[in-house]
Symmetry: C2
Subunit: 151 residues, 2 copies
């Protein structure tokens, strides 16, 4: 396998990250749900008041995966890392790239003093669930996601 | 009903908010899960780099409920309000206090240009689910919560 490096995302990575988001949304059976605009994506992470942070995996001069997180505040536990996305492009799956990203996330979470990492996974996404089990992840089916629009 | 007012939370509200968090955790059958320390609670919302914001409902000189949120970044939709907690102390339930909090949250979400509000509810918490239905909330059972510790 060609060498894979992990580094903090830069604003110039945003178009490629959004491409990978679209790839994952298609896999998650929601190809039309990605409606974010690239300017909003860039500004939210790299403008004057960033609301997310990201790391990318790079190989052969191309971003082949990334992980994106923000700070969650749990009123039970305190500040946690919320992992919004971790993904690797299809051609590069099963080669350990996800583990490189995950290991770096755990390092960051420790450095920042977060009380753990939380995220969500689709209940039918077995490859992802099996991957997370390697990290002694706990799964909880008791909570429903709720959304309202605020036009 | 005595008048109820809604206002932004202040650092001095934190001890009472934490008391209400504990009350809700007990209702949610997790009385021993609240391990956050009050200093961490205060600093996270009112220190130099706040990671959450809150509004409180006040009546007869006491905080009787609150809502606490932070900024979520959805790679599909963009910046959203994530509603971590909305709660009213037991003696004051069923009197419209939750609606006052919810209406204010919607106003804030619009002012800040958030792409909607998301949160979670326990699948057996029917009173809460029925309350959210009044806001045309959409419920999604397909996602599991995942957590790892990062000691």
């Amino acid at each position: 396998m060609p060498p894979v490096s992990i580094r903090p995302a830069q604003i110039t990575d945003c178009p490629r990250m959004l491409e990978l988001v679209q790839e994952l949304a298609t896999y998650e059976r929601a190809p039309n749900e990605v409606t974010i605009e690239i300017e909003h994506f860039m500004e939210s992470g790299f403008g004057p008041n960033p609301v997310y942070w990201a790391i990318v995996a790079e190989a052969e001069g191309q971003v082949i995966g990334f992980a994106l997180y923000y700070v969650r505040f749990s009123t039970w536990k305190g500040r946690k890392m919320y992992l919004e996305d971790i993904l690797v492009t299809e051609a590069w799956r099963g080669k350990g790239v996800g583990s490189l990203l995950m290991d770096e996330l755990i390092t960051i979470a420790r450095e920042k003093g977060f009380k753990g990492i939380t995220w969500q996974v689709l209940d039918w996404n077995e490859p992802a669930i099996n991957f997370y089990k390697r990290y002694a992840a706990k799964f909880d089916r008791e909570w429903l996601n709720v959304t309202i629009d605020t036009p």
